[in-house]
Symmetry: C2
């Protein structure tokens, strides 16, 4: 069983035939480093799954680049607002390592959602999970110090420091790279 299939079924089980149809809609790409999956002002057409490698989601805020998310290790990611609202994406997504990425197109997903109740349910459950994650992250940003957030990140994802530049990690944590550097030297 592929890791994608595994992760999909973790969200909710699907009957054999629907599972096959659903899996068949996921396209697979091997991508070099620094390739863009979503560019600014283009409508995001895919929900992605990263099997190997790292993708970074970022955007510009007052002329500065903000890393919104770092996707690695068999996880889903997308430009949420653009994908669901069908509007030009403020977020950009690019690989920062050679990566193996799967994606399902908006039209295919929506068609399946209409045809198969259980795919609609799958998407509903996936969104519920995202929303819960989002709640936890909000709490963390609002009430934990930069140091606490860094320590938690290391706990949950130790390999990230070896594989992702400091500046991206700092931005993802919502601090400057200077502050992150100081946190590291104090530890």
């Amino acid at each position: 069983m592929s890791t994608l299939e595994n992760r999909i079924l973790q969200i909710t089980p699907l009957p054999e035939d629907v599972k096959k149809t659903f899996l068949g809609k996921w396209e697979k790409w091997a991508m070099p480093k620094d390739q863009f999956l979503v560019k600014e002002n283009e409508t995001a057409n895919y929900i992605y799954y990263i099997e190997k490698g790292i993708a970074r989601i970022f955007y510009y805020k007052n002329g500065k680049e903000i890393t919104e998310w770092i996707a690695m290790d068999n996880s889903f990611f997308l430009s949420i607002i653009s994908f669901f609202e069908r509007t030009p994406s403020r977020l950009q997504i690019h690989t920062i390592e050679p990566s193996v990425v799967y994606g399902i197109h908006y039209d295919n997903l929506m068609n399946l959602c209409n045809e198969e109740h259980c795919i609609e349910r799958w998407l509903r459950k996936a969104l519920t999970g995202s929303l819960i994650l989002s709640q936890y992250r909000m709490d963390s940003i609002q009430f934990e110090s930069a140091q606490q957030r860094y320590e938690k990140l290391l706990e949950n994802n130790p390999s990230i420091i070896q594989r992702v530049p400091l500046s991206y990690i700092a931005s993802f944590l919502g601090i400057t790279q200077e502050t992150l550097s100081r946190i590291r030297s104090n530890l």
Copy 2:
């Protein structure tokens, strides 16, 4: 057409018969001020809709009360994690004005989701909307100053200062009440 019906159909249209069944599952309560809808450590069983009045969602973090959300003006609210994961709620919800509140029970909603594809779709779309809101709020907390956040709140919801105590608003904005008081005097 009731305001609840209106808000429900704004999320996605529903066929007449399903709409009737769905609306029939929403219970209606007239509540005095300071009544609890969700208590700490109890599993949250309802998604709520507030037609009139104000409900406040809060929790304890390091012994301090944090206001997570203030619901007013025909909006939905719930203790997301507890409701969907069926776990004891860290969040508490209480009215801070006499209020008219509707609620749909978890079991009823899930049964309808299973029976009616379009209710599953409705919930999926509602969750998508929440997730998008959550993204905007995260950005605001992370990158806007306390003053900017307060000004935005006033713009979007001018009546909130008259109706909600300063301490709740401050906490909702992620600042202390002293800071909010100073922001107000500087304006």
